[in-house]
């Protein structure tokens, strides 16, 4: 009797949760491998090269070969580094980039934790991402990583401010912090259309938040060697790499949920709404990821003062103005959602 209650109370729900987590994380990790391949291939096409084409058909297994190579190398810990923090930093980066997936709704009811404050959770997790970088830069006890860490700390804190205001603008139109409700509110029109400037601001801030070109000052290879992960090798380097790309996918799924209607088809008509929601969701994520790579292939890197100017003097006033404008518009035309 007692054994049965344990089985029903803990073991079965626990194993269901673990199965759900694995069902989300395995595709994410595998898609990271293919994202790296896609990035190299797209960049190669932009630069009129052929890109990886040796391992597997069309070089599609290149990332797996790279991962295997990196994992079999020696893990070097610098003698003067702060060893515990040094090894903790890549783990934190990796864990945080995977933790956000807990609240992402892939399709109606396809979500591990459907919490009331889903968007706040995502914002919190993405704002913690800076710690992995700061800890790595400090613990390496070397000049270039430290400079990279300082740059990234200032950069991520600055762009979080405008991301916060963009999220508030969307929330004003939804009236809830739940991610599923945010998607459902876009059934008539995606927020990318009425809030187009905010969509652009959010996308550019997402580039800065994930340290992607043209804002990859923290790992600026032409001045800082490799920035905050200069001293990392082997498995800890792989963790940083995986974490960076997983958080890229996380930020693009956040963009899709906030502005491009999540799992909803573009128009609610027959051949389009017959396709399952999760496929729409993945197609939209792939589109945003392509934009990430496209931007990397086309734009030169920003200078640091230009980066700060863009964040504080352009995005912050613009997003603040749009919060006020949206709120005013909703009040004047009596369109405030679930007013009390």
């Amino acid at each position: 009797m007692n054994n049965f209650s344990y089985l029903n109370d803990f073991i079965i729900p626990g194993s269901i949760i673990i199965a759900q987590i694995l069902a989300v994380l395995m595709p994410v990790l595998i898609s990271v491998a293919f994202l790296v391949y896609a990035e190299r291939k797209v960049l190669a096409l932009i630069q009129l090269r052929r890109g990886p084409n040796v391992v597997g058909p069309f070089g599609i297994l290149q990332s797996f070969a790279d991962a295997l190579k990196l994992l079999t190398k020696e893990n070097i810990v610098p003698a003067n580094s702060n060893k515990i923090v040094f090894l903790l930093a890549p783990i934190i980066t990796m864990v945080l980039s995977l933790a956000g997936w807990a609240v992402i709704p892939f399709a109606p009811n396809w979500v591990i934790a459907d919490i009331n404050v889903g968007i706040m959770y995502l914002f919190a997790v993405s704002s913690l991402g800076v710690y992995g970088i700061i800890m790595a830069g400090w613990a390496s006890n070397s000049q270039y990583p430290f400079l990279g860490a300082l740059r990234s700390a200032a950069q991520m804190v600055s762009y979080e401010v405008s991301i916060g205001f963009v999220i508030i603008t969307v929330l004003l139109c939804v009236g809830s912090l739940n991610l599923t409700k945010i998607v459902e509110a876009q059934a008539t029109v995606w927020f990318a259309i009425p809030l187009l400037p905010m969509f652009v601001v959010f996308f550019i801030s997402a580039l800065a938040e994930t340290n992607r070109l043209p804002f990859d000052l923290p790992e600026d290879e032409s001045t800082l060697v490799a920035g905050f992960f200069t001293e990392y090798s082997s498995a800890s380097f792989v963790l940083f790499f995986l974490g960076e790309y997983a958080s890229m996918i996380l930020m693009s799924s956040m963009t899709v949920i906030l502005f491009m209607g999540g799992w909803l088809p573009p128009f609610d008509i027959y051949p389009l709404n017959a396709i399952p929601g999760v496929i729409w969701f993945v197609i939209k994520i792939i589109f945003i990821l392509f934009l990430f790579i496209w931007v990397r292939g086309t734009f030169p890197r920003y200078r640091y003062d230009q980066l700060m100017r863009l964040g504080w003097k352009i995005f912050l006033p613009l997003s603040l103005l749009w919060v006020v404008l949206t709120a005013g518009f909703l009040i004047v035309f009596d369109m405030v959602p679930n007013s009390l």
Binding site: F10, N82, V85, I115, N116, V117, M120, Y121, F123, A124, S127, L128, V130, Y131, I134, M135, W138, F146, A149, L150, A153, A154, M156, V157, E160, G164, L177, D305, R309, L340
Partner: protein, 203 residues
């Protein structure tokens, strides 16, 4: 219920231990990292209480912004660890006194019977908890009952911000600034001047 209490004890144990490590760690950067761990665990306790909005705000504001700047400053400062320890015995009595006063005050609060739910309700307008999600609840209370206090706290923050800017803003003499719009409107005619140079004369 087992699971609830186990999670509670894990969160509170880690929070208390890391708070102890904040004041006892030798390296100030480690102190700040333990402070962050303690914040995260406190937000876990908020989640257990059902106050998920407060939990997330705690992470976003304290861990995501304030502690980053803390860490930033502590990392940048060249701190002499030996000097930092020098005044320990000198300040010990004062610190102990503060701690004792705090414990006595908390004890008085908990021991007197006035600290019960009913007496608190006299001062605090409490909406129906458990029926509305707590984000909405905080909004209702904060922007109706405490509207003026909210505005005043905003003004205080503004004054603090202006104060810190006036303290740090100084005229640094020759600082080169870029005028972005004038740079964007540069064209070939303005940037390049064509001159016909006669052979053998130069400009």
């Amino acid at each position: 219920m087992y699971l609830y209490s186990i999670t509670f004890y894990i969160f509170s144990l880690v929070a208390v231990l890391s708070a102890l490590m904040v004041i006892s760690a030798r390296n100030p950067v480690h102190s700040v990292l333990f402070l962050i761990l303690s914040f995260v665990n406190a937000s876990g306790l908020f989640v257990l209480l059902g106050a998920e909005f407060l939990a997330m705000i705690l992470v976003v504001v304290y861990v995501g912004a304030v502690a980053v700047l803390f860490l930033f400053v502590v990392m940048m400062l060249d701190i002499n660890f030996v000097k930092l320890r020098e005044g320990f015995l000198q300040y010990l009595p004062f610190g102990a006194l503060l701690g004792i006063v705090l414990i006595i005050e908390l004890g008085i609060l908990f021991l007197t019977k006035s600290f019960s739910k009913n007496s608190l309700n006299k001062f605090v307008s409490s909406p129906q908890i458990n029926e509305i999600e707590n984000t909405k609840l905080i909004g209702q209370v904060l922007y109706t009952d405490y509207f003026y206090l909210f505005q005043i706290s905003g003004l205080i923050l503004l004054v603090a911000m202006i104060g810190s800017i006036t303290l740090t803003l100084r005229d640094r003499g020759q600082v080169k600034r870029q005028n972005i719009s004038s740079q964007n409107y540069i064209d070939a005619n303005k940037a390049i001047e064509k001159k016909k140079v006669k052979l053998g004369e130069g400009i």
